[in-house]
């Protein structure tokens, strides 16, 4: 039977902007339906419309039927009843979604006590049994704990348990695992699938992650700019996309799947770096094979860090060993990926290399120069900055909102070199063009630029100084997949053209795979495995690396073939 039937749903803002443009979708009992799209596609808004959670001054059109009850025409009390009995929603970030000032027990029992009028003891019993159902380790203890005392994964379980208190027929999940680590994501997906099956609920699953959607959904709807671009059987849609947008999305999605003939892929990868980086072809290859066999590189390394450790001493608490005896080496023109989950110490490691943090022990050298200590004087800071530049995760935060893109780049440049205004301007335009922007963007403030454009500006700013090494700390994590693909292509291109040395920090194996010749895997401060990226993905040695790889959602069929075909259709760098 059909639980949810949305037809021709439109949503207009008072300023005339149409956010949803004729959305039609259905969810049947026991079915998992995916709603896939990038930011601004309207997928979250569509999901919220099911529970009547809409912007207050929006004009709605079309219909939303939840168990044959119209949501858009529902009175206030009907809407409450609907939310209390028919559908529940799980939100993206459990840390933001659960009131930090109330206990976990209060969150779980709140609706039972206040809406259903159950006794406190009764509600508590239900809450505890639900916590057991979602596999929280110590339900009794969690009742009196506050959200900040639990990890993100545990909190998301609390959120799920909270959504299940009303025994909903339809469970709406809005990016429920986006804020979580990949291993935690796998666990949460497991819990969701189990609950959906045992309760026979319908599930509307919103995600930007094609692989995730493909691996858990029966049917999917692909949304873009407020419209459904394509719909159908999940396998059908992703293995044989019809709409141009879906094809582009599939092409842009990085994957960790290593083709059967992994040797061929490896060769191809090596070819790419060898043939195109004319300046340093032999170095990259020699060093890559050298460090793969863990012998000292014959050529001088551009970046070498050895025996780096960092411990944070906290008053009244156990000290945290953020980084333990980590060593890496990147040859000139090489790209090294550092992969790890939150708390693995990868960002601390990056910050020490950039000189934002002082290593307790160890030695960092960039282009042969000592760069271990945090620069203290202005001269030292400038010197250090010329060695290494960093691109941060969130371009919305790393660019000053009041400074235009051109000025931001110019300022960085002038800090290091005396340039006449005209020379500086010319160089700014040159840099902007190099990152696929133009002189029109020089005058733009960050507010008027898209996320991808901002990150390009951040990269241009980092390159303005012509550093020896570029450190990218989760530099594409905040971006949509298609934008991420553009930024990654850009970095690849710059590496080819300028022989730039890159240290790429990421939680995402697929992204690292795309960009880096070599990869190290970090876990709780230690490097547990290192090697050529393709070999590491194809034949992981350490159990943690295997766990990481296994946790990445993956449909049974191979996306690789489709991706290769589709990427020919589209040069992601060309479009903005």
């Amino acid at each position: 039977m059909t639980l949810l039937d949305i037809s021709e749903l439109t949503l207009d803002l008072p300023n005339g902007k149409r956010l949803l443009d004729g959305i039609s979708l259905t969810v049947a009992e026991g079915e998992t339906v995916g709603l896939v799209g990038e930011s601004g596609s309207g997928k979250s808004l569509t999901a919220r419309s099911v529970l009547g959670l809409l912007p207050s001054r929006a004009t709605m059109g079309g219909s939303v039927q939840l168990l044959d009850q119209s949501v858009l025409d529902a009175s206030r009390s009907e809407l409450l009843a609907l939310r209390r009995t028919r559908a529940s929603m799980i939100f993206q970030d459990p840390r933001a979604g659960i009131n930090p000032m109330r206990t976990v027990g209060d969150h779980l029992t709140e609706t039972m006590r206040l809406c259903e009028g159950r006794s406190a003891a009764d509600a508590k019993a239900v809450a505890i049994s639900l916590m057991e159902a979602v596999r929280l380790p110590r339900p009794e203890e969690h009742m009196n704990q506050y959200p900040h005392e639990l990890s993100g994964g545990m909190l998301q379980r609390v959120m799920i348990a909270g959504a299940l208190t009303s025994s909903p027929r339809l469970l709406i999940c809005d990016e429920p695992t986006t804020a979580l680590d990949v291993t935690t994501q796998a666990e949460i997906i497991g819990v969701l699938a189990e609950q959906r099956a045992s309760r026979g609920m319908g599930m509307l699953f919103i995600t930007h992650d094609l692989n995730l959607a493909a691996s858990i959904c029966d049917r999917v709807y692909v949304m873009s700019a407020g419209r459904v671009e394509e719909q159908g059987d999940a396998r059908q849609v992703f293995s044989n996309p019809q709409a141009a947008y879906t094809k582009r999305l599939v092409a842009a999605t990085p994957t960790i799947v290593v083709a059967r003939d992994s040797a061929a892929t490896a060769d191809q990868g090596a070819d790419a770096s060898a043939t195109t980086s004319d300046a340093v072809p032999s170095t990259a290859d020699a060093a890559a094979s050298a460090s793969a066999s863990a012998t000292p590189a014959p050529v001088e390394a551009m970046l070498s860090a050895s025996g780096i450790s960092k411990t944070y001493v906290r008053r009244g608490k156990e000290p945290v060993r953020a980084v333990i005896d980590a060593s890496i080496e990147i040859p000139r023109g090489g790209a090294l990926g550092v992969v790890g989950e939150s708390g693995s110490g990868k960002s601390t490691f990056a910050r020490m290399i950039v000189g934002l943090e002082q290593a307790d022990t160890g030695d960092i050298r960039i282009a042969g120069r000592e760069r271990t200590s945090v620069p203290s004087s202005r001269v030292e800071r400038l010197e250090h900055a010329r060695s290494v530049q960093m691109v941060f995760q969130d371009p919305y935060l790393s660019l000053d909102p009041r400074i235009t893109a051109g000025k931001a780049i110019e300022d960085a440049m002038r800090l290091h070199r005396n340039l006449s205004t005209t020379d500086a301007r010319a160089r700014v335009i040159e840099l902007l063009e190099q990152v696929g922007l133009g002189d029109v963007h020089a005058q733009a403030r960050p507010r008027t630029l898209s996320g991808g454009q901002r990150q390009r500006v951040a990269i241009a700013r980092a390159l303005a100084i012509e550093p020896d090494v570029l450190v990218m700390d989760e530099a594409t994590s905040a971006l949509d997949v298609s934008v991420q693909a553009q930024v990654l292509s850009l970095v690849e291109e710059i590496r080819r053209e300028r022989g730039l040395t890159v240290l790429f920090i990421s939680h995402d194996l697929a992204v690292v795979r795309r960009l880096c010749d070599e990869t190290v895997v970090m876990k709780t401060g230690e490097i547990v495995e290192r090697g050529r990226t393709i070999e590491l993905l194809g034949n992981p040695q350490h159990p943690y690396t295997r766990l990481l790889i296994d946790s990445v959602p993956r449909p049974e069929w191979n996306l690789e073939a489709v991706a290769a075909e589709a990427s020919e259709l589209e040069d992601p760098v060309a479009q903005n």
Binding site: A81, M89, F91, N99, E110, L114, C115, H148
Partner: protein, 318 residues
């Protein structure tokens, strides 16, 4: 255990603050021009013997630190010395005036809480609408009125024109005093209502945009319940912090209002005593105000983990 240690730590800090304040309060008199002895002997032709006698009688011949120790010992026993102008114990002089000021502050405080919170909450729940704008404009206009002007307007309208309230004096007995203090406490409250109202509004608006509020709504809780349990509850922190800082301002501003309404309270006494170089009284009142301020803020600090459980976890909390 940790709670105990935290409270003990706060208490230590509190005592240290009070000690430093007492030093400042006592020794500031040596920086002020004017000699208490000449005030005591005013109207008489001071013979050197008389000066020496008075000086010795009030202990003014001792070295400053000795005078401080004497004073502090007395203060710790509730003896603030003798007022120079009233020739009475300072504690008696203050004791006579304290009820009026306390009542004034309590009444004004209640008004600030009720009106300020209501205005802030109403504005935040109607954010961007006409009511919100009206409240904001109203608050801004009120905030621009100095309290002595407010006092005069209130007297002119409600005491003189309408005759609803007395314009002068503090009345006899509890109820009469409360009646007499209605206009003064309104005059005192106005500026603080504006501050509390604005802080409440911005704190509520910030919480209203939080995702956990949407989650609560999505679970079918009534709007009132969501506002009470998730929005207002989470907004209390900043409101309390600001209120704590306001306490000192409230005590100081009361002197202006007391003067405007001819009330014999602590505020007028302070102004008068400064005027007449009545150091013991000035010192006692200033110490009282400092103590009130420090104690109120210490209480708010101690309450903080209860208001925001993340604070209990210390700086390490995310």
């Amino acid at each position: 255990m940790t709670t105990f240690r935290r409270v003990a730590g706060k208490l230590g800090a509190l005592l240290l603050t009070l000690f430093l304040a007492s030093l400042l309060v006592f020794f500031s008199r040596f920086l002020v021009p004017g000699d208490p002895v000449s005030f005591l002997l005013r109207g008489r032709k001071p013979s050197p013997e008389a000066v020496a006698q008075v000086t010795a009688q009030y202990g003014l011949d001792l070295p400053p630190w000795q005078q401080y120790l004497n004073w502090l010992t007395g203060v710790l026993q509730g003896d603030f010395g003798r007022s120079l102008q009233y020739r009475q114990d300072v504690s008696e002089v203050i004791g006579d005036r304290l009820p009026v000021t306390l009542m004034l502050v309590v009444m004004a405080g209640t008004m600030i809480a009720v009106v300020g919170l209501t205005a802030g909450i109403v504005a935040s729940l109607n954010r961007g609408k006409v009511l919100d704008r009206a409240v904001l404009i109203g608050l801004t206009v009120l905030g621009a009125i100095p309290s002595f002007v407010g006092s005069i307007v209130l007297i002119a309208v409600f005491a003189v024109q309408l005759g609803w309230f007395p314009s002068f004096g503090s009345g006899e007995g509890f109820l009469d005093m409360a009646y007499h203090l209605v206009l003064p406490s309104i005059a005192l409250a106005i500026v603080f209502v504006v501050l509390v109202g604005k802080v409440t509004r911005s704190s509520m608006v910030e919480q209203l945009g939080r995702e956990h509020v949407e989650v609560a709504t999505s679970r079918g809780l009534k709007r009132g319940t969501v506002i009470r349990r998730h929005v207002f509850r989470n907004s209390i922190g900043p409101i309390l912090t600001v209120s704590g800082v306001l306490v000192a301002g409230l005590l100081v501003a009361s002197s202006i209002v007391e003067a405007a309404f001819g009330l014999a309270g602590i505020g007028t006494l302070l102004v008068q005593s400064v005027d007449r170089l009545d150091f013991p009284v000035v010192q006692a009142i200033v110490l009282l105000i400092v103590t009130a301020f420090v104690v109120v803020n210490a209480i708010i600090d101690v309450l903080e983990p209860w208001i925001d459980p993340r604070a209990a976890a210390g700086a390490g909390a995310r």
